[in-house]
């Protein structure tokens, strides 16, 4: 007997056929011959900036134990190319398109959001608030609760489409930032971007990343991200998209039990190009094994008792 599994999840007014989607920067048109995009919950192309950007010096990636550090520098062809080529390309698929936006100022975020969300093909926006505020002191918007709230509320004014704030994990209190994004009018939270990291080649005494610092991803960060999803889920009812180190179905389920409604897969696709669809299949097998018919019934269902704030 096969039971019909309900895999669809909602991020604000957006309904996804299933909870699995790519992480921005780890997905693109070049994967079309490798996986069927129509089987994903959403497609999330690489973050777009207003103007073309060259990106950072190489090496842009280095391997670390159970993960990798990257500092690509958002190499981008700019918004005009994006509007003319990227959006129409993904418009051919039935899968909802979530456009990831990166900008140097709040005004630029709002300007880009207005243009991109104005197209019928774009189902939702993911705001990469982990990038530095060049009109401020250069610290990431997402490191400051007040700026986060202001940024989301300014973008909120220009579009009614679902807004997902992609939080940076490089903060003291992820809960504070999550609440600020909610207060600003976000419809969902992506928890989270990469963790600021560094690696040094002791033989050459040089940093192993051209930009010196980069973002850590992969299994090494997953327990930190699971903790953050759990903490964010405790203070807000906004749907959470978990992102960080998911390699298999169990990893994705861990995030769902911690409070994520959907899960992004990034680095895993580099190791196993078919990872996203493999993960989706493994989640279904788990649901069959435990008699779960609706994926939503697992969200936030970790049987956790009381804990100390610091974990010690």
């Amino acid at each position: 007997m096969t039971t019909e599994l309900k895999m669809s999840v909602n991020i604000g007014s957006l309904t996804l056929a299933n909870p699995i989607m790519p992480a921005s920067g780890a997905f693109g048109e070049d994967m079309e011959g490798i996986i069927d995009f129509n089987q994903l919950g959403a497609v999330v192309p690489k973050s777009i900036t207003k103007h073309p950007r060259k990106g950072n010096a190489t090496p842009r990636v280095c391997e670390t134990p159970a993960g990798m550090i990257n500092s690509i520098g958002i190499q981008s062809k700019g918004i005009d190319y994006y509007m003319e080529n990227v959006i129409p390309y993904y418009g051919r698929y039935q899968t909802p398109l979530i456009s990831s936006i990166s900008a140097d100022s709040i005004d630029e975020f709002a300007e880009m959001a207005s243009i991109i969300a104005g197209t019928k093909e774009v189902a939702a926006l993911e705001l990469n608030i982990s990038c530095p505020n060049l009109k401020g002191n250069g610290a990431a918007f997402g490191m400051d609760a007040k700026l986060t709230r202001e940024l989301i509320s300014e973008v909120r004014k220009v579009t009614e489409k679902p807004l997902i704030a992609k939080l940076t994990p490089n903060v003291t209190s992820i809960q504070e930032i999550a609440l600020a994004a909610e207060a600003g009018g976000a419809d969902g939270l992506n928890v989270a971007n990469t963790l600021l990291a560094m690696a040094i080649d002791v033989h050459t005494r040089r940093p192993r990343i051209g930009n010196v610092l980069g973002g850590l991803s992969g299994p090494a960060v997953k327990p930190i991200i699971v903790r953050m999803i759990y903490q964010v889920h405790q203070v807000t009812n906004l749907p959470i998209i978990g992102c960080g180190g998911v390699m298999n179905g169990e990893d994705a389920l861990e995030m769902i039990l911690a409070g994520a409604s959907a899960v992004q897969v990034g680095t895993a696709s580099f190791v196993q190009p078919t990872a996203m669809l493999d993960i989706l299949e493994e989640i279904k097998q788990y649901m069959v094994q435990y008699g779960i018919t609706d994926i939503n019934s697992l969200v936030g269902q970790v049987a956790a008792g009381k804990h100390t704030t610091e974990g010690c």
Binding site: G25, A26, F27, G28, D30, M31, G33, I34, K46, K54, G55, T58, P59, R60, V61, C62, E63, T64, P65, A66, G67, M68, N70, I72, Q75, G218, P219, M247, S269, F270, V271, Q272, P273, T274
Partner: protein, 261 residues
């Protein structure tokens, strides 16, 4: 294209630092061309974490096997040496843009150093099959490193060996050798891989002689599918510089366009 579990026919040490692996590629449906590469998982677990790119050393189309010649350098290649005949290895590819051999070319020059020799060996094999004469200068640290390069002679290539230990691999010495090869042979195209120093030299010489060149680049890779933009290089596009992906637009580029930092 999906990753394939390929059966290892053999995996053996061929010199102090180099190993040679042959795999059964009978499940592979895409054609494989010299200059392209495959992403291999060097173990069966996540250590090392990322796949490693390996260029193709030999393509045995009738036998449906592929051969890789690899330098044991870091955690990935060390782990790869532990794999044995009969084991399977997770292979993803072929990836990237191959070398182009124009029909009218009858004689070509190959200039390779180190593990770049493996990349040009596949081209020498293809050239031989098409009746193209290859003349090669192969550079390495030591004579021992060149043991694995002897296969090029099997393709009828005229091969000159230069090494650091014999102090024959300096740029000036290689320049003289290239110039005398150009004087002796009607070379119509030049190919290189494995050394920025030698590539710059070849860039200069081919420009002087008006000979087209192609280079296969190496770079740290993330996805190798063209989505992560980790493995980039600058190429000249008219008066501008363009940052392109080594895994997708490359690894083979027109030699005159590549900016060799």
């Amino acid at each position: 294209m999906k990753p394939i579990q390929m059966k290892i026919c053999s995996n053996q040490q061929v010199s102090q630092r180099y190993w040679h692996m042959k795999v059964d590629a009978s499940e592979l449906t895409e054609p494989v061309m010299p200059g392209q590469f495959f992403q291999l998982r060097c173990g069966h677990d996540l250590n090392p974490f990322l796949r490693r790119p390996f260029s193709i050393y030999r393509i045995n189309r009738e036998e449906k096997t592929l051969e890789f010649l690899y330098l044991v350098k870091g955690a990935g290649t060390q782990r790869l040496t532990l794999m044995q005949a009969g084991d399977s290895v997770d292979v993803f590819g072929p990836l990237g843009t191959p070398f182009v051999l124009e029909d009218e070319w009858k004689t070509i020059l190959l200039l390779a150093r180190g593990v770049g020799i493996a990349t040009l060996a596949a081209l020498a094999q293809d050239a031989a099959e098409k009746g193209v004469q290859a003349v090669a200068i192969l550079s390495a640290r030591s004579r021992n490193d060149l043991l694995a390069a002897e296969t090029l002679q099997g393709f009828g290539a005229k091969v000159l060996f230069v090494t650091d230990e014999e102090q024959t691999s300096g740029v000036d010495s290689v320049r003289e050798q290239i110039e005398s090869l150009l004087a002796e042979h009607p070379i119509q195209a030049a190919f290189t891989c494995g050394s920025k120093r030698l590539s710059r030299l070849l860039q200069e010489i081919t420009a002087q002689h008006g000979i087209p060149g192609q280079i296969a680049l190496e770079e740290h890779m993330g996805c190798a599918m063209g989505v992560c933009f980790a493995c980039v290089c600058d190429v000249r596009d008219g008066e501008y510089l363009k940052t392109v992906r080594v895994c997708k637009e490359g690894p083979v580029f027109p030699l005159e366009k590549v900016v060799l930092g």
